[in-house]
């Protein structure tokens, strides 16, 4: 019955025209054809022949779950399917769902079908994928592969609007697909050299930092030495000198104290002032001795930083000699540093020597203060002259 109806329809419409069956059915959409309603991402609703739409698995599933039979309950398609893409996809489905076509016809249709611009090709792939239309996804991805194949990266980036956001470093990594093409080998060598240069620059930066650290460490050493925190190296020296000084002390105790207290005071300014009289001769001698004494003086001051160390007072050329020997252990450069630091310290101490002396001497015997005072002027004068010089 239905068949007869169809034939009649055809005859009525235009028997001589070369319309296909499908066309005539669209023109006269009678109850012969079922339709489904589809809603696209822009909320517009379309009416599509069911057998065409069923070619898409997604729509097929939706129909089976009861959707799409009327305008009020359309099948809402995934967001990646916009109206132009839907129209393309339906064209594809309409062609391929017809059974009688030969493989040759289908192939030819497919080839023409994907001759669209790349942007639409990408959109079409995306839309077909969301509708689970695998044959169309295969077709479009093959077409996209043909677009990519054989092109240079710049060309590919331009076609697909890819950002050129790899860093120079990353681009410099050796081409993984080198085929031992001598040109590529040369290029890789250039890249390798460039990478090496970059690395060297990095290394230098690190080295600089390390050297600074090294410097700081040595400065720290110096400071601790000066502050007496460094028991190990300096302590031995100190103790040695202590011993020697003790000997000297014994030795010189008998000698008359010709030296003025000034000399005593100058040399022992940084020392324990209790044994000043013992020091006096030594100090004077040291003051009037050869230029070497300057260094010795500082060294003695150094040694005498330990204010509480009474026994370190002794000075004398011999001592100095001995101290010299001891001090040979120090690295000359370090020595310079130490000397400078000590000088500074000495200056600072010298400036408040009188007050300190008074303090200390007030604890000691009477004679000393007298001696001091008589020579104090001299010494003070000396000091002031020194001070002035050094100020």
């Amino acid at each position: 019955m239905a068949l007869k109806g169809k034939v009649r329809t055809k005859a009525l419409v235009a028997p001589s025209s070369t319309m296909t069956e499908a066309d005539s059915e669209i023109i006269k959409p009678e109850m012969l054809k079922a339709y489904v309603w589809l809603q696209t991402s822009d909320d517009s609703i379309q009416q599509v022949e069911q057998e065409v739409a069923m070619f898409c698995p997604f729509i097929c599933h939706e129909i089976h779950s009861g959707m799409g039979s009327s305008k009020n309950y359309p099948i809402s398609l995934p967001s990646r399917v916009n109206p132009p893409m839907l129209s393309l996809i339906l064209d594809y489905c309409r062609f391929h769902q017809v059974q009688g076509r030969s493989n040759k016809e289908r192939k030819s249709f497919d080839e023409k079908f994907v001759r669209i611009d790349t942007k639409r090709l990408c959109e079409l792939t995306s839309a077909a994928d969301s509708l689970q239309l695998k044959p169309l996804v295969d077709l479009t991805s093959r077409a996209l592969a043909r677009v990519i194949e054989g092109k240079s990266p710049e060309e590919i980036r331009e076609i697909f609007h890819l950002p050129d956001d790899l860093t120079e470093e990353e681009k410099l990594e050796p081409i993984k697909n080198t085929m031992d093409d001598p040109r590529i080998r040369l290029l890789n060598r250039l890249y390798a050299r460039k990478r090496k240069e970059l690395k060297e620059r990095e290394k230098l930066k690190i080295v600089d930092v390390e050297e600074e650290h090294a410097d700081e460490r040595s400065v720290d050493d110096l400071l601790s030495y000066i502050n007496g925190g460094n028991e190990d190296s300096k302590g031995t020296r100190g103790s040695k000198s202590k011993k020697k000084n003790r000997k000297r002390k014994d030795h010189h105790r008998t000698a008359p104290s010709n030296c003025t207290s000034t000399s005593n005071s100058t040399s022992s300014s940084s020392r324990n002032a209790v044994d000043i009289d013992k020091k006096e001769s030594n100090d004077r001698e040291s003051l009037y001795s050869s230029p070497r004494h300057h260094g010795n003086l500082i060294r003695d001051l150094c040694n005498g930083t330990k204010l509480l160390d009474i026994e370190d007072d002794r000075f004398g050329p011999e001592d100095d000699f001995d101290d010299c020997d001891l001090d040979d252990d120090i690295d000359p450069a370090l020595k310079e540093e130490i000397d400078r630091e000590v000088e500074d310290f000495a200056r600072r101490l010298n400036s408040d020597w009188p007050e300190r002396m008074q303090e200390i001497l007030s604890l000691g015997q009477e004679r000393r203060p007298l001696q001091l005072t008589t020579n104090g002027n001299g010494s003070l004068r000396r000091f002031t002259s020194l001070d002035q010089r050094q100020k």
């Binding site: 790349t118 942007k119 990408c122 792939t125 995306s126 994928d129 996804v137 295969d138 991805s141 093959r142 996209l144 592969a145 990519i148 194949e149 054989g150 990266p153 590919i156 980036r157 076609i159 697909f160 609007h161 890819l162 950002p163 050129d164 956001d165 790899l166 990353e170 681009k171 993984k176 697909n177 080198t178 085929m179 031992d180 093409d181």
Partner: protein, 423 residues
């Protein structure tokens, strides 16, 4: 152009599509996408289907350079690859056997590869390392030009569905063992085997393609076989073997394939089937056999004609028939026994579904003409019969046409197309 401000077209596509696109590129181009942009840096590295062919090889004159290049590329590629590998296909005429290939196969065997295809160059055949046999998850194995030597403790590929061995050296016992110990085997292709006596025992086998010098073929347990294509080459000792053979080859080969839908036979296949075949009736009816294609059927040999008839008559649903005659007409075999044709077959020979018949290399010998007559008389729904005469037939064409015109046709719609130029 306004396009410059548009978003990236392609990187937003789901990973499965990107992989589909990359998989369709030659491998070298796929790897080159790594310098397109940061997002593309390692998209290639998660490809699960890796196919390397000569499109990715650079072409230089020095073969060694090309081979080294390929070896370096694949080694580095595998090293940088990240993720599972389901398929690895290597097909290159530049590659010869090399220890690197063994290492790749070891790497792949640890990656649970499922499909492995290897086709190397024409030189010294590659000897498959034993790690190939420890790829437990293999579903497809295709090897060309290699030596297979299964280790003694090999228990078979339990997941293997497709096996294709072409120009493969393997001890004959091992090949039968291999086939019967792949329980899920659905498709078997054996090409260019020499002097093989093969018994196929594969309960799930559906597609069988054989090509080579087979001394003996027996399908012992292949109830589900759907399509068979056999090309049998002949050598002198095989011919001798045929003559001394006593068993019925037809039964041995086609006796246990009730579900057969397509049968294709080349070269000496029909001859092979004719040996030892005494009965006019085959043991089973091929209800599903719709398509028969037989080449090099010698219509001089009555036995071969009988084979063809037997097949046709026992295939009630045959739709398409293609027979190509053999042009090596041997010296006069004597007057052909034409009385055979006059006696009626005891069974109904009507071919109710036969629609299309294509006969090529028709030399017009008596049996052949009788055969055509038989077809025309017994095919009520025949639509097209195309006949292409043999190139060597020059004078007899007119006679042939006269005979053809005189034949009765059971089908009113039958068209006979006589093709003068060879197709």
């Amino acid at each position: 152009m306004e396009d410059d401000s548009e978003l990236d077209l392609i990187s937003e596509l789901p990973q499965s599509i990107i992989e589909a696109i990359l998989a369709k590129l030659p491998l070298r181009d796929a790897v080159r996408t790594s310098i397109l942009s940061t997002r593309w840096r390692y998209k290639w590295a998660s490809l699960t289907h890796i196919m390397f062919d000569d499109r990715s090889a650079s072409h230089f004159n020095d073969r060694i350079v090309v081979q080294d290049g390929i070896v370096n590329f694949i080694t580095r590629f595998l090293f940088l690859h990240d993720g599972p590998i389901h398929k690895f296909s290597l097909s290159s005429s530049f590659l010869q056997s090399s220890p690197d290939i063994d290492q790749w196969l070891l790497f792949l065997s640890r990656k649970d590869v499922k499909e492995l295809i290897l086709e190397l160059g024409e030189g010294e055949w590659f000897r498959a390392p034993s790690c190939v046999f420890s790829c437990k998850k293999l579903t497809r194995l295709e090897l060309v030009r290699c030596e297979l030597d299964p280790p003694p403790n090999f228990k078979g590929f339990l997941c293997l569905k497709h096996l294709s061995l072409q120009q493969v050296l393997i001890p004959p016992d091992d090949i039968e063992y291999l086939i019967s110990n792949c329980p899920l085997l659905e498709s078997l292709t054996l090409s260019y085997f020499d002097s093989l006596e093969l018994t196929v025992c594969a309960p799930n086998l559906k597609y069988l393609i054989l090509e080579g010098e087979f001394k003996d073929l027996c399908l012992e347990n292949t109830p589900l076989l759907v399509a068979i294509s056999v090309a049998m080459y002949m050598t002198d000792d095989i011919a001798e073997h045929f003559e001394h053979s006593s068993s019925c080859n037809f039964d041995k080969f086609l006796g246990g394939v009730p579900k057969l839908e397509r049968l294709i036979g080349h070269i000496y296949f029909t001859k092979y089937l004719s040996i030892g075949n005494n009965q006019k009736r085959s043991p089973i009816t091929y209800h599903h056999l719709r398509f028969i294609e037989l080449y090099q059927v010698s219509f001089d040999d009555m036995k071969e004609v009988l084979v063809v008839l037997q097949l046709i008559v026992n295939s009630p649903n045959l739709q398409e028939l293609q027979i190509s005659g053999s042009s090596n007409t041997s010296a006069t075999v004597g007057a052909p026994d034409l009385e055979f044709w006059d006696e009626n077959f005891s069974i109904d020979c009507t071919l109710h579904r036969l629609k299309k018949v294509k006969l090529t290399d028709v030399s017009g010998v008596e049996h052949e003409m009788k055969f055509i007559q038989f077809l025309l008389e017994n095919s009520p729904v025949l639509e097209v019969m195309s006949i292409t005469p043999s190139l060597y037939l020059t004078d007899g064409r007119l006679n042939m046409l006269i005979d053809l015109a005189s034949f009765r046709r059971a089908s009113s719609r039958a068209k006979i197309i006589f093709i003068q130029e060879p197709v």
